[in-house]
Amino acid sequence: MPFRLSGLPLVVLGILSALVYGSAAQRLAEGPRASAKPELLIALPRFAQVLMAGGDRYLAANLAGFRVLVADTGRMGADDYAVQAKLQRDIAWFNPAHEDNYYIAAAILPWNDQVDAAEYVLRKASDARIFDWYPLFQYGFLSYHFRKDPATGAQWLLKGVPRVKNQQDEWALQNLAAAWIEKGYDTANAAGMVSAMADDSPQGAFRNYLKVRAQRLRDLAKLQDAAKRFRERFGKGLEKLEDLVSSGLIAEIPADPLGFGYGLDASGSPIFNSTGSKKK
């Protein structure tokens, strides 16, 4: 005889399962949850990313690229930037010619202690995009600003010259390379270059991010300039940043839009505070 479930047993089973479901949901709600950060959570191994994209390297590059693009840089900490650096290295491996990838890597990674990753992405992009001088320029800027090595930076700029399509850009690159070699590192110069990058980007959060970076560099350049005048006037270096205000050289210490603030290096020259000391 086939077993049939109807009437009272069915109602009892229904109530029972509702009770079990309710208590299970209650238990789960009370239990601890694995902490899930809203930004970049994890980066899968490259091979797994390719498989998940149906074997399509270009799709894997774009999928990882969207993750990088939608991550909110305002909320990211050092761990998140390490994951972003891994993702951007992966994208550069899937599709080295990806323009957004090298552009974002150059604009965001080195400022957040990921200079090696930015160099990797830019080297891949320089090799793949043989028609594009911009990755070479960015690589040069990395050497100039982050490695404080203007001579190597200038060499990378000059490598970009044969790829430039108009005479004006060619001269601009050659002049910049010459200035780097002759004068060495200069913060105001770096601020101008980041500002130009911002103007070259479409409207939106990314452009604003670059503008903030450029503003910080301009403020730092002003502080460094004031510190130089302080030394000339008083014949000694700064002991604390506030000396610039008390001596009347500047009206106030500029506010850092990113919240890290400015400090002094061993020689008494103004620098950015370390990114690690930011209070969350």
């Binding site: 490259r46 390719v50 969207f66 693009l69 552009y103």
Partner: protein, 267 residues
Amino acid sequence: MLEFALSGLRSGLRGKSFQAVFILGVLMIGIAYLSGLFSPRQPQTVALDVGFSGIRFSLVLLNLFWVQELVAREIDRRVILFSLAYPVSRGAFLAGRFVAILILSTLAATVLGLLLLLAVVMVGGGYSQEFELALGVPFWSAVAGFAIDAAVVAAFALCIAALSTVAVLPLALGAAFAVAGKSLGATIAYLSQGADGDEELVASYDPAIELVKWLVPDLSRLDWREWAMYQLPPGAGEVTWAVVMAVAYIVLLLVCASLLFARREFS
């Protein structure tokens, strides 16, 4: 053979799964358009890139569904007995069906390609990106590459259909083959560059990949999208050898399929 091709074309166009997958393809073009809007520097390139991936995915699925509908299901439902009652070889039936799938696939590739072109032109509305796309011959050569890729997958599925007694097997194995073939290039590159320093991984997978690369064709060699996206044309030799590899593999699979099919008994 012509009869089989024509009847295949008719039922292929009428099939519900074809219509469903085709709608999926059109949706993917829509996704390509939207993903272009994400890109700060190269919206058109990203739309084109994602659209190409969408076309490849849709074409492979369409080809698999056609093999399923035109061959596997006919065998499953015993309708095939009517077709085989004609005084022609069983190989001619398979070849006819394959030609029908090729024609259907070319049609689908053309329509999806035109839709993608439209999406890419539309996405570039507000921002003119610095590096222009190559939307003429380079674009259509990339689409043709995806169609050839899908044809290899169809031939493999057809071969499975010729010997399988389970109707969904060609679809399932065909999809696995498509992913394996497409991943092969990336896998070989990953292992040859040391797999991020994981020596154990290299040691355990290298011998397997050495064998697999003779059995499964490297379908990523049929992906020429960089020409359209970055104006970086692939080498003529590379393209020629990729096409030769694909065609030879298709012929090999079709020969296997007809040999297997000729010996098959329908109870």
